[in-house]
Subunit: 303 residues, 2 copies
């Protein structure tokens, strides 16, 4: 990847053009990278082609033409299928290639995938992201990257195209671990805020008053500042869906169980999110966790 190779730049592949993936692929294009895209549902590809991408006919074709391939898929099984299924990426990629997985999936499974790719001379970075649809569309995601330091350095130009905050947090799987930590921490904040608001409302103190008072002290948080407004304004349009947060907490708990970690708070919140989803509200923003707390507290929604 020296300067003399600029006439034949590294072609970057992107597999998975959902809400997040299409934004990231667009960011790579805007940063001047040569991008080839593939999506199972081909209808997602033309908008990227209009932005300058090439569309591949198959995962194998993409793998044969790219030295760096991003994945943005829905779950662990989907990543495994794309990498190691029939006609998968692992067989198609040349030795010396790198897979950058931006999906939020299992940390232990990620380590296994990386080991299997390494047998073929293919490197892997796990780089789950936070920052949502808007962060993806504007290239301002936060990327938590696990993997070999030299591979990380080599891939910085691509990671910096999709993220404004790119942190190397450890070896393969560490990105998934830190993402899990993020979801455990952020939902812990939300449950505390939601219970505080329910307590206040049932004692006739407006949650907006509580928010204002607490923002000045030790209970200050980004969730109190931003997400908590959803509970005050009754706005549960996602945002980040409750069913996705449920998935992320399930992953966090699995990662915990894998090493015997005591996570009663995350387990409780995961259960509450099961309740949110099973009550048919999984497509609301994950702050609907607070809505459930209010409902079970007898808060009058009209109040």
């Amino acid at each position: 990847m020296s300067a003399t190779q600029s006439s034949s730049p590294v072609r970057v592949g992107f597999i998975g053009l959902g809400v997040m993936g299409r934004g990231m692929a667009g960011s790579l294009l805007r940063a001047g990278h040569a991008v080839t895209v593939f999506n199972r549902n081909a209808q997602a590809m033309p908008p990227l082609v209009e932005q300058g991408a090439q569309a591949a006919d198959s995962i194998a074709a993409l793998g044969a033409s790219c030295r760096v391939v991003f994945l943005c898929l829905s779950d662990t099984a989907a990543v495994e299928a794309v990498l190691f299924g029939e006609g998968g990426l692992a067989q198609a990629l040349a030795a010396g290639s790198t897979v950058i997985d931006t999906s939020t999936i299992s940390a232990p499974a990620t380590r296994g995938f990386a080991a299997r790719l390494a047998e073929r001379g293919v490197a892997m970075l796990d780089s789950p992201v936070s920052g949502g649809q808007q962060g993806a569309a504007t290239g301002s995601l936060s990327c938590m990257v696990g993997g070999d330091a030299a591979v990380f350095e080599a891939c910085l130009p691509y990671l910096q195209a999709i993220g404004s905050k790119v942190a190397h947090v450890g070896g393969v799987g560490a990105g998934q671990v830190v993402k899990a930590c993020n979801q455990v921490a952020v939902t812990g904040v939300m449950l505390g805020v939601a219970e505080a608001f329910a307590l206040a409302r049932r004692h006739d103190v407006p949650p907006a008053v509580v928010r204002e008072a607490l923002l000045g002290g030790a209970a200050r948080s980004m969730v109190l500042e931003k997400n908590a407004l959803r509970l005050i304004e009754r706005d549960f349009q996602p945002g980040f869906k409750a069913e996705l947060m449920r998935k992320d907490l399930r992953l966090a708990l699995q990662a915990g169980q894998d090493r015997g970690v005591f996570m009663p708070g995350a387990a409780l919140i995961a259960q509450l999110l099961e309740g949110v989803c099973s009550a048919g509200e999984g497509s609301l923003d994950w702050s609907a966790l607070g809505k459930l707390v209010e409902t079970l507290s007898g808060v009058d929604e009209q109040a």
Copy 2:
């Protein structure tokens, strides 16, 4: 309280000269108020007398000479005893006086105390504080004040002597409710952070790396910024003792039970604090909550 009365200023009483109370009484003196102090253990009074306070021989004597009386006591029973016990404040205070209770006690009990004082023409503000020993010593506490608006306005000169952030949050008891909300919220943040750190450590990611990565995003909080350093640096010297946070969460849960509020997170954290205290660590800082999570996760404390 007009300017012409400056030759006979309102004398302010202060009952309860523990770590917090002695700081607040000192702040009132520094602000130029005439202060009379009383403490059950008389040894706490001479240092305040050296700063210019008068020492009262009894609660009744203090009540007879003061029109505004601060309380800073350990629990609901202590406040009830000082107000309504034999030789208590309620009998001694003239009609038109005001009691300002800075203790963290029961919100429902506070409403009852205020009603009983009102029968004697005595007003009450509940003004639990946050900001700790240092905030008390420097007059920079955060005061969450419940009570009649006119009484609040009249008492602002005294409240602003002890606090740099003084918020009127509602009627009598609302200060206690908001303080309870604060403790529910802040402990929720801590449990999330503690579980995230335990998960990270068991997956060989240093908690300092997690802290740094999470501070940049949606999981950002004051607890992650400050208190979490105690988990990284293994520093559990209080600070605010775990046994006091246990007391505060018990109060929050009682306030919740009083109105049927669903608070599974606070209940869980209260249980963990019972564990911290019963294991003999109640006099450590309340971040020892995270120490318990680590111990139960098999985290090597030497790591």
